[in-house]
Structure formats: structure tokens, C-alpha cells
């Protein structure tokens, strides 16, 4: 699903966020990316979603080469990807349900099916009683789970999650772990940036350590986690 060779990212201001990244992720795999703040976790996920372009190396996601991707290629990649952003990127002034449903609207799913699926996923993340609430009135942890629901409702081929449990208590981490596990059952490839050891314990997977923009394998090397 993901093939990276010698990938580097230097931002316009000269910051070397990533260097010499070699990474192979098989379809259906669960990969955790851990590392200190500023290590480059978000940058890596941004590259995988085509939000930033690699400045060196080769990066291919779902058969789409991101070094020379056209707008149409990136759109195709994003349509088969579900992403949880570190800052959520929810639309204020809309309900939790509307935010989640947007994910399927973009894909052209009819409203009746969309509504049903969106409500089911919101229930899965423990927000059944919050579906009609405006997202800006929700707590941080609730917003985070709305963002996760928006990412998984489309049953993507690839799930990218940037610190999806950063603001959650143990119960909510359990919801997230369950959602990630179920996504695995559906064969969804998952890349999760986190420093949350609770999540790592609840749902083991391959762990990669980012340190100063370089990637090191830490645990579960070569293992294909399909649970």
C-alpha cells in the first residue's frame, strides 16, 4: 500500500522535517509512528495524503506516485483515504452528524444510506447522544472522535490518524482502539501517529520511531497485523 524510498522533506523555510525515509506498509497493516514533538510525524502523514510533496526520494501510495502527482491523482488518493487530522479540521457551525456525513457526500453516497452509516459510526465512537450537537460545542475529546468517525465512515482503503487519542480518557481510547481494530477486519491499512502507550497496549501493531526526521523500526518488525 505504501512504498517509500529515500524520501525527504525540506520545508520552504529550510527546516529538514524528514530524511532518508524507507518504508513499506502492506495492505491491511497497522503501523504506529511514534516520536517526540517536532520529530516529523505530522509531516509524514501529510506526505501520505498529498498535502505536501516530498523534496527527494520516491513515494507511492495505493499505486499513486506522489512525487509527480497531478491534482486529479491526489484527489483519487484522498477519496480512498480516511484521515484524522491533529487539529481535526471539522467544520464549525455544523452538527457532528453533518461533519461525518460530509465524508460520504463528497463520494456521492445518497443521503439515506449516508445518514444511516454516519449514525452507526458515531455510535461506534461513543457519540450516539451527540449527533445533533454543533461541533464547536463539543469537548476536545468528543471532537476528536467525530474526526475519527468522519475518517472511517467511508470505509477507506487507507486510514491515516494523527494522534487520534491525544485528548481522550481511557474509555474513549477504548472506542478508538475498537474502531481501529474493526477497520483492520475490513482490510483497511492504518498508519497512526501517536505517543499514547495505552493505545499501543490495547491494540498492538508495528511501531516505527521517528527521531529528528529519521525512521527506526522499534517493534513488530515485518509483522502484518490483521486483527
Amino acid at each position: 500500500m505504501i512504498h517509500a524510498r529515500g524520501v525527504a522533506k525540506v520545508y520552504e523555510n529550510g527546516t529538514q522535517a524528514l530524511q532518508e525515509i524507507d518504508l513499506q506498509v502492506a495492505a491491511g497493516e497497522l503501523v504506529y509512528v511514534v516520536g517526540a514533538s517536532g520529530a516529523g510525524k505530522t509531516t509524514l502523514l501529510k506526505l501520505l495524503l498529498g498535502m505536501e510533496k516530498p523534496t527527494a526520494g520516491e513515494l507511492e501510495v495505493a499505486g499513486i506516485s506522489l512525487g509527480k502527482a497531478q491534482a486529479e491523482d491526489i484527489r483519487r488518493l484522498r477519496r480512498l483515504t480516511g484521515a484524522v487530522f491533529q487539529d481535526f479540521k471539522l467544520i464549525p457551525g455544523r452538527t457532528a452528524l453533518e461533519n461525518v456525513a460530509l465524508s460520504l457526500r463528497v463520494l456521492g453516497v445518497p443521503w439515506s444510506e449516508n445518514r444511516q452509516r454516519s449514525l452507526a459510526v458515531l455510535e461506534e465512537v461513543g457519540l450516539a447522544d451527540r449527533v445533533g450537537s454543533m461541533v464547536q460545542t463539543l469537548s476536545w475529546g468528543e471532537r476528536q472522535r467525530v474526526a475519527l468517525a468522519r475518517a472511517v465512515v467511508r470505509e477507506p482503503r487507507l486510514l491515516l490518524a494523527d494522534e487520534p487519542t491525544g485528548n481522550l480518557d481511557a474509555t474513549s481510547v477504548g472506542f478508538v482502539a475498537a474502531v481501529l481494530a474493526r477497520a483492520g477486519e475490513k482490510g483497511i491499512t492504518r498508519v497512526v501517529a501517536t505517543h499514547d502507550t495505552r493505545l499501543l497496549e490495547m491494540l498492538p501493531g508495528r511501531v516505527l520511531l521517528l527521531e529528528g526526521g529519521r525512521l527506526h523500526q522499534v517493534a513488530g518488525a515485518g509483522r502484518k497485523d490483521r486483527q
Binding site: V106, G108, R150
Partner: protein, 292 residues
């Protein structure tokens, strides 16, 4: 695209509700612009209709001198009948002329007759002519003895036709002008809407939406604004034209004016289509601005 049509309409409406003042303001200006165009159009329509009406009575009116005798009238009638292109002749005596005048013009006959360009106190021949020979007949009749003057309805017609052309051309330019101003108005309001949504549009893109997804509600909004403006202008012209034209008719009773409702109905579709078309163009303009 079509599965989301309901959603796009809802979004268009939602956005309009969020900034009612701006939307109402632009709706009012679009309506007024189109109403203005409607008036110019109505003028063109009216004159065109007048030409059609007058065209049916291609005739030369030959006025006779006041002191003309019955014998001279008979000779003149023969001479006129002999002219090429003449199809019919009718003699109208002084008394009959006056009577006719009073019938048509009512109590203001004298003033109005002067306005219309002929003297009600003369007897005259109404000479039917083949249209293409009207001018020649008029010229020859002028030189016959006992003739005071000739009024050729074709001259009036030609003048009216020219006026009608000018008015229709004017209407076209007005429409273009109105369209451009409308497009600017609508593109401006759509542009503002798009700007206010920049963050949302970025999110749409991250979810893999195509460029039209975020823009569709605004295309709908712009088109509907134009359409609504067109329909409002239509309704207003249905209301005002009969009023205006009945006033006009009261002032100029001898003009065979087309009823206001009919004119409004004729102009209406133009207004609605123009509104819709330029509304769509305006929002397309705004979206191409936003995308660059």
C-alpha cells in the same frame, strides 16, 4: 453530482440565510436592473406593434383645398384612380371628416388632430395603394389641381420603423449593460461567499472533493438570485405596465397601443431567461476568480 443536488440547494439556502442583507440587497438591485431593461424592451415592443398595426392600412390621404367644387372633386377622383398602383378611392367630405375626427379623438379633436398632423376641416380622398407605389402616388397626387396636401402613411411608418429599430437596438444594449452590471453584482456576492468559506473548501479538498463540490451551492445561489430577480421584475412589469399604458392611452387616445399585460407577457420570458443566464455567468465568473 446529482445525488448531492438536494444538499447543494440546502447549502445555497443556508448560506443565503447567513447573510440575508447582502442577498436581499443584490436581489433588489438585480430586480431593478431587469425592470429597467423591461421598460426599454416594452418601448421597442410597443412601437414594433404600432408599425404592424399601421402597416395594414397603407394609404395616401389626399387633402383637398377648402374652396374645391364638386366638379373638381369628380375630375380629381378620375385622375387619382388613373395613377399607377392605386387600388381604391374613398371620398370623405368636410362634414364626414369632422365627424370621423370627433369619433376617434373625442372632445379634444382639434388639438389632437394638429398633433397627428392633419387638418380636420378639409375634405379628403383616402387612396388605397399598393405598398411599393405609395411614395410615387403621393408625389404625383401632390401636383394635381385642387390638392392642398398629401399625407403618406408610409412616411410615418418609415419613421416608426426607424424608431422601433433604434429602440430595439437600445433594448439590446440595455440588456447587455444590465447583464454586465448583474454579473458583477452576482459575482461579487458569490465571491464573498466563497471567501468566507475558504477553510471549509480546504477541508472538502482534503476529503477528496472535486472543484465543483464547494462551488455548486454558489452556482445555484447565483443562478437562483438571477432567476428570482427576473421573475420579480416580470411580476412588477405585469403590475406596472397595464397602469402605465392606461395612463399613456388616456393621454394619447389615437395611438393603437398594445395592452400593457400583453407587453409584460411578451417581455417576461426575456427577463427570466436573462436573469438566470447572467446569474449563472456571474457565479461562474466568481468561481473562476476564486480558483486562481
Amino acid at each position: 453530482m446529482f445525488t448531492n443536488l438536494g444538499y447543494f440547494f440546502a447549502e445555497a439556502w443556508r448560506d443565503a440565510k447567513n447573510r440575508p442583507v447582502a442577498v436581499i440587497f443584490s436581489l433588489v438591485s438585480i430586480t431593478l436592473l431587469l425592470l429597467f431593461a423591461a421598460f426599454v424592451f416594452a418601448g421597442g415592443e410597443e412601437v414594433q406593434w404600432l408599425v404592424g398595426q399601421l402597416g395594414e392600412e397603407t394609404a395616401v390621404t389626399v387633402f383637398l383645398k377648402e374652396d374645391v367644387t364638386g366638379e373638381q372633386v369628380a375630375v380629381l377622383e378620375e385622375k387619382l384612380a388613373a395613377l399607377e398602383g392605386v387600388t381604391a378611392i374613398r371620398f370623405v367630405s368636410q362634414e364626414e371628416a369632422l365627424e370621423e375626427m370627433n369619433k376617434v379623438l373625442g372632445s379634444h379633436s382639434a388639438e389632437l388632430a394638429a398633433l397627428a398632423g392633419f387638418n380636420p376641416f378639409l375634405s379628403y380622398f383616402e387612396v388605397g395603394v399598393r405598398p411599393e407605389q405609395g411614395l410615387a402616388v403621393a408625389r404625383q397626387a401632390e401636383n394635381l389641381p385642387g390638392v392642398d396636401g398629401v399625407r403618406d402613411s408610409r412616411q410615418t411608418m418609415e419613421r416608426l420603423t426607424r424608431l422601433s429599430t433604434v429602440l430595439r437596438l437600445g433594448a439590446l444594449f440595455t440588456l447587455i449593460f444590465v447583464g454586465v452590471v448583474m454579473m458583477i453584482t452576482i459575482s461579487h456576492i458569490v465571491h464573498l461567499g466563497l471567501l468566507a468559506r475558504e477553510e471549509e473548501m480546504e477541508i472538502y479538498r482534503l476529503l477528496g472533493a472535486g472543484p465543483w463540490f464547494a462551488v455548486m451551492p454558489f452556482l445555484l445561489q447565483g443562478s437562483l438570485l438571477g432567476l428570482a430577480g427576473g421573475m420579480l421584475a416580470f411580476l412588477l412589469s405585469l403590475l406596472f405596465f397595464p397602469l402605465l399604458f392606461s395612463r399613456l392611452l388616456a393621454a394619447l387616445p389615437f395611438l393603437p397601443l398594445r395592452p400593457g399585460v400583453e407587453v409584460a407577457l411578451a417581455v417576461g420570458p426575456v427577463l427570466v431567461v436573462t436573469g438566470l443566464l447572467f446569474g449563472l455567468c456571474g457565479s461562474l465568473l466568481a468561481q473562476s476568480h476564486a480558483n486562481h
